[in-house]
Amino acid sequence: MSASHERRSYDVVVIGAGGSGLRAAIAAHEAGARTAVVCKSLLGKAHTVMAEGGIAAAMGNLYPEDNWKVHFRDTMRGGKLLNHWRMAELHAKEAPERVWELESWGALFDRTADGLISQRDFGGHRYARLAHVGDRTGLEMIRTLQQRTVSLGIDVLMECTVTDLLRDGDRIAGAFAYWRESGRFVVLEAPAVVLATGGIGKSWKVTSNSWEYTGDGHALALRAGAALLNMEFVQFHPTGMVWPPSVRGILVTESVRGDGGVLRNSEGRRFMFDYIPEFFKAETADSEAEADRWYDDKRNNRRPPELLPRDEVARAINNEIKEGRGSPHGGVFLDIASRRSPDYVRKRLPSMYHQFKELAEVDITAEPMEIGPTCHYVMGGVEVDPDTAASRVPGLYAAGEVAGGMHGANRLGGNSLGDLLVFGKRAGEAAAAHASALGSARPAVADAEVDAAALGALAPFDTEGGENPYSIHHELQEAMQDLVGIIRREHEMQIALKTIHDLSERSKTVSVEGNRQYNPGWNLALDLRNMLLVSEAVALAALERKESRGGHTRDDYPMTDHDFWGKRNVIVEQLPDGGLGIRHQPLPEPPPELAELLEGDH
């Protein structure tokens, strides 16, 4: 049976063609590896395209006093000190180089008056630091990387979905995938695989994430023997659209606040002043006057509280709504209309202007937006070595959102795009080096593994009268939204776990109509396995961590516990019996010269 599948052989296979995947592929190719990128959608459609705000990089174009040390400190503090210090260090040091590299490949960022790359303000960043193009920075980044990938002649396998990793003993030997167009299988032989699959948001009902975000990489890694780190940390972006219902969850960029927008409740109050946590008091303005002066004079004023890290803002909004001070459609108001001129808004936020006009018939230069939290990003992910992005499975690498550690308990806006570039490059280089070091001692793909993967992928066609995959997906989203959302409670998460188990059982008998040719029902049935596994990992980890920190808020444990939980990571891994196990692992401590940077008020 296995002999009949298409086979291709590479040194490095990258799964995912967003920012990290493309950057990894370019790096692997430039290191001399025969490289392929595999992606579920067409090239250029990956979720990176949705990123709006910018790439955080301490280039110091506007504030010469900015440098990697300040960026490192902001990142660690934004992550509630649970970041892997080494990742935060590498990221802060290398992000500027990665941005300039994009420029030398043709990216056209907005400019300063001196003709340098302009930088914008964002939550949690001390200085204006985000390289950007209006509010479509992700599009610029993906197009630049895409055009580079194509001009280098790297193989791109579009609309091709990986369902299993193949192993020889414990080493990576390749990947098993199907072409969406034909439904036919393809075996990709490769001693090194880079996971660059992005996030897991499709398990929640209100999300900014696209259909591709089904936790494929997280699940593939678990099943191949890698460990997942701190999966309880899920970022709910404070500002998603809430109305009309069909657009609920679609992202409203943080740049609206960076460029002067403020949050108000139904009473018209700028409520963020009521929610400044002790940890950020010293660096946050405590009056509207000071906050408003900050936009023009950052040296003598402190940041407006609207620009606190995302977890703080999301919780505050959540609370305002809960206490009955929300907007008519269950959000709060985000107002830039009363604060900036229509011209300024259209120039700085063209795609937001467009988005509200087209989708909600709201003119954001004239009226406030209604917004509320939306599931946006997972900080948790595959445990990797910071320098090489290697997981503990030989030959398996992970970069970007699918990797854990970089962002700790909460990611700062703008740190995602930089993460993709910095660690995408490192992963691609390390994967290429791994492949070349093997020489002829390459792992082999076993026929039995291929046959098993094919059988598993076809199972939904063998069942008749089984459940509809769309219904199971819907139920999973409801459960995760209601029971493992922004605010969590022990008994609710236990119910969630039970629901996930039930759904997993039921998903074994889903049946799909039609044939294998471009069949979204079948494709969803396969993605469901990943969503269910990853949802379980999140619920388990969230149940385990008995404190509140960053993107993990426990109603029953509202305090941040520095002495116990502040020193440990929660690890989820697959046990020999196929179930998921959980354990603690000490958080790596930064060396003294870096620890020093984290102290004090600055």
Partner: protein
């Protein structure tokens, strides 16, 4: 304020809506009616998804962002090339089925999904950005006013609606090999206007990419969801600049000599 009214006060009561969707594959197919619940705040893509989730699990359709940013959900709605995620139901006449067909210029794979590889082949032919000798390595110095013209073109979300609508290839497969299409004219123009690009692609555009086949009907500009003025700001300026290089008598003479 009540929760049953939209920001503009429109009623959002659910109602029945019929979508008339083309189903089939390369071998053939036809229109099939699906009636589902819908409300005015929704867009066509929402209703297509409802059809998929409840009536036709295998209905093939592309989408990613649902916010007009990725350019995946292109189709023809009542014959007009549009993004399904930006097509609000309130803009269609009530009680009349909405006809959804795949992009006509590209071969059908299944249902609303077409084989758009034509565009990816044209992308492969574009000689990449190459920094000029003046500023070979970033960071570059470039003024905002000088990057803006190219930035307009870089708003392109590669939805291929302009490619679909352009009459040069819409019903003329024979023109396809020699014609890159409006999306790529915008791309060439963008590189040409890049303040720090060091390559000249003008002759290539005229002689091999089919710029001369375009007779500036502006249909591409009309369908562009990003509002890019493809004809006015990319094609016409390129046509003018091509004249400089292709029909400049001194250059022509030099070329003849080189050949001779």
């Amino acid at each position: 304020m009540s929760t049953s009214a939209g920001a503009t006060g429109e009623a959002l009561a659910p109602r029945e809506l019929t979508l008339r969707i083309w189903r089939g594959d390369a071998k053939g197919g036809g229109l099939v009616d699906y009636t589902v619940e819908a409300q005015d705040g929704e867009v066509v893509l929402d209703v297509v998804h409802r059809v998929q989730a409840t009536l036709a699990g295998d209905l093939a359709v592309r989408w990613n962002c649902k916010a007009g940013k990725c350019g995946s959900c292109s189709a023809e709605l009542d014959g007009r090339p549009r993004l399904m995620c930006l097509a609000r139901l309130s803009t269609f006449e009530r009680g009349v089925p909405i006809v959804i067909t795949p992009l006509r210029t590209f071969p059908v794979i299944r249902d609303l999904v077409t084989d758009v590889s034509f565009n990816y082949r044209k992308a492969e032919q574009v000689p990449a950005f190459q920094p000029s000798a003046d500023q070979p390595v970033a960071p570059f110095r470039m003024a905002q006013v000088d990057v803006e013209r190219s930035q307009e073109m870089r708003k392109c979300i590669e939805c291929w609606l302009c490619q679909d609508t352009c009459h040069v290839i819409r019903d003329h497969d024979d023109n396809k090999p020699a014609f890159s299409g409006p999306r790529f004219f915008a791309r060439y123009a963008e590189l040409d206007m890049h303040p720090n690009d060091g390559l000249d692609r003008r002759r290539l555009m005229q002689e091999e990419r089919g710029l001369g086949l375009c007779n500036i009907t502006k249909c591409c500009t009309e369908v562009c969801p990003e509002g890019i003025k493809i004809t006015d700001n990319a094609i016409i300026p390129m046509k003018e600049r091509v004249v400089d290089v292709c029909y400049d008598p001194v250059r022509l003479l030099r070329r003849r000599r080189a050949r001779g």
